[in-house]
């Protein structure tokens, strides 16, 4: 453990609990658009607890690695320099965007991240539905670059916590849209609903953590549309609430695929989710291509009829 002067996540836990209760109350008594299914919420919360166990188990390795890298840092950056926090805010969010994007586009990391997307609901407990293996598959490693540059490990951990706390409140259907200027720059519930959608139109979009500008810059931004209401979950929704299946189904799938066809192990691990050597399965790209072709066909149909 790195001794933090301030731990944003621990500080925010009472707020998390209060906001979940508030969201449920808003859905129950104030007709806000809020949907909770008991077993789904239970699964999400248990995965959140499981994530804290993973963190506790991996903490020694991560802290030791961070400190080793910091012992070789290039620049001297102090926690007391305000501009260092500004630079870190952008750098951390930029790294988050790419790590998150990779988590969707490469199966080995998707196997871990899929937990967060496997609920058919989008409420504040979905925010706590965290992966059990993201530290094991090294999703913390890219941040070592910032430590090597000279940012103290505590700054990185704090900024990561701030980002995670920010991303909590955007997991809700209760908030429709924020003011236009806010929607333009920041990640919002509307943008993040698109990210959790399984509609072909919305697949693989809006990877932002705090700032939506990265998606706008790198071509992955998609606006939520009223004529295509978001359906939540994954392309092939889970068949139950068994916590072990929820947590490890994609890993089991990878191992089964590798056992069946070991010579394609690299493809099974690092190909996009849905990749197969003979192309018989569907990836996001093929689903989107089929959807585009269907839309084009349907748009052309009335013209052809004339």
């Amino acid at each position: 453990m790195i001794d933090l002067p301030f731990d944003p996540i621990r500080t925010a836990i009472p707020l998390f609990i209060a906001l979940v209760l508030l969201e449920i109350a808003a859905g129950k008594w104030f007709r806000a658009k809020v949907v909770y299914e008991g077993r789904d919420a239970w699964t999400s919360l248990l995965l959140g607890l499981g994530n804290t166990i993973q963190t506790a188990l991996m903490l020694g390795i991560i802290a030791t690695t961070m400190l080793w890298v910091y012992s070789h840092h290039i620049f001297e950056i102090r926690m007391t320099w305000w501009w260092a926090w500004v630079v870190l805010f952008f750098a951390d969010d930029f790294i988050f965007y790419w790590v998150h994007r990779t988590s969707h586009e490469r199966r080995i990391w998707w196997a871990s991240h899929v937990n967060h997307h496997s609920s058919q609901h989008f409420n504040l407990t979905t925010a706590l539905r965290q992966p059990l293996t993201q530290l094991v598959v090294g999703q913390w490693v890219p941040w070592l670059f910032l430590i090597w540059m000279g940012f103290p490990p505590a700054m990185i951990v704090i900024q990561n916590g701030v980002s995670l706390v920010y991303q909590f409140w955007i997991h809700t259907e209760a908030i429709k849209k924020m003011p236009r200027w806010f929607e333009a720059v920041m990640n919002t519930p509307s943008h993040h609903r698109v990210h959790h959608a399984r509609n072909p139109r919305y697949l693989d979009a809006n990877y932002a953590g705090i700032l939506i500008i990265w998606d706008r810059m790198f071509g992955t931004f998609i606006e939520e549309r009223e004529d295509d209401p978001v359906r939540y979950g994954i392309v092939k929704n889970l068949g139950g609430f068994n916590i072990l299946r929820v947590a490890f189904h994609e890993w089991i799938g990878i191992f089964q695929d590798i056992a069946r066809s070991p010579k394609h192990a690299l493809g099974w691990l690092f190909g996009p989710p849905g990749w197969s050597p003979d192309g018989s399965r569907e990836t996001s790209a093929t689903i989107k291509a089929k959807w585009r072709a269907r839309v084009k066909r349907e748009a052309a149909a009335p013209i052809a009829a004339e």
């Binding site: 453990m1 979940v20 909770y36 400190l67 929704n237 068949g239």
Partner: protein, 157 residues
């Protein structure tokens, strides 16, 4: 820079810290874990007791076809059988079978060869259709007591 040194020290791995604070740290983690577990039970209970799930009517042929059209838009369904509880349906699409079944207040859909779907073992009033998918290993199809067991009866007969 005493403040910086404190920030940079991995306290839990320092032997002197472990000697002095190890038990307290372990105890703090256990307390935090226990409190989190209690909070989870409370929140999940409140979520369940609030009864604000999606409203899902029991399946009929039209709604089953609508779900399949949403999930597998390129699939042309020939025939649909809905289970007695309105919680699952089986559809034939050429040599392919499509099975949809309730999961909470939503649905999961899986495809399997039609020959495998109709050969699913009938046990009493239920049929368990198995898939080669770790994310959804099986679906249960409830038969009406004493009624026609199609499509499963076609093979069972």
């Amino acid at each position: 820079m005493p403040q910086d040194r404190r920030i940079l020290t991995p306290v839990s791995t320092s032997p002197s810290f472990r000697a002095e604070w190890g038990d307290a740290l372990d105890q703090a983690y256990i307390i935090q874990f226990a409190v989190s577990a209690v909070a989870i039970v409370v929140l999940a209970s409140v979520a369940a007791l609030a009864r604000i799930p999606r409203k899902v009517a029991p399946l009929n042929e039209a709604s089953a076809r609508a779900v399949i059209a949403d999930e597998l838009p390129d699939t042309k369904v020939e025939r649909v059988w809905v289970d007695a509880a309105g919680r699952a349906a089986v559809a034939k699409s050429g040599a392919e079978g499509v099975v949809l079944f309730r999961v909470g207040d939503g649905f999961a859909v899986r495809s399997a060869p039609w020959s495998e779907v109709v050969q699913a073992p009938v046990k009493g009033e239920g049929v368990v259709i198995r898939f080669r998918d770790p994310a959804a290993p099986a679906a249960r199809f409830q038969l009406a007591p004493g009624a026609n067991r199609a499509p499963f009866a076609e093979v069972a007969a």
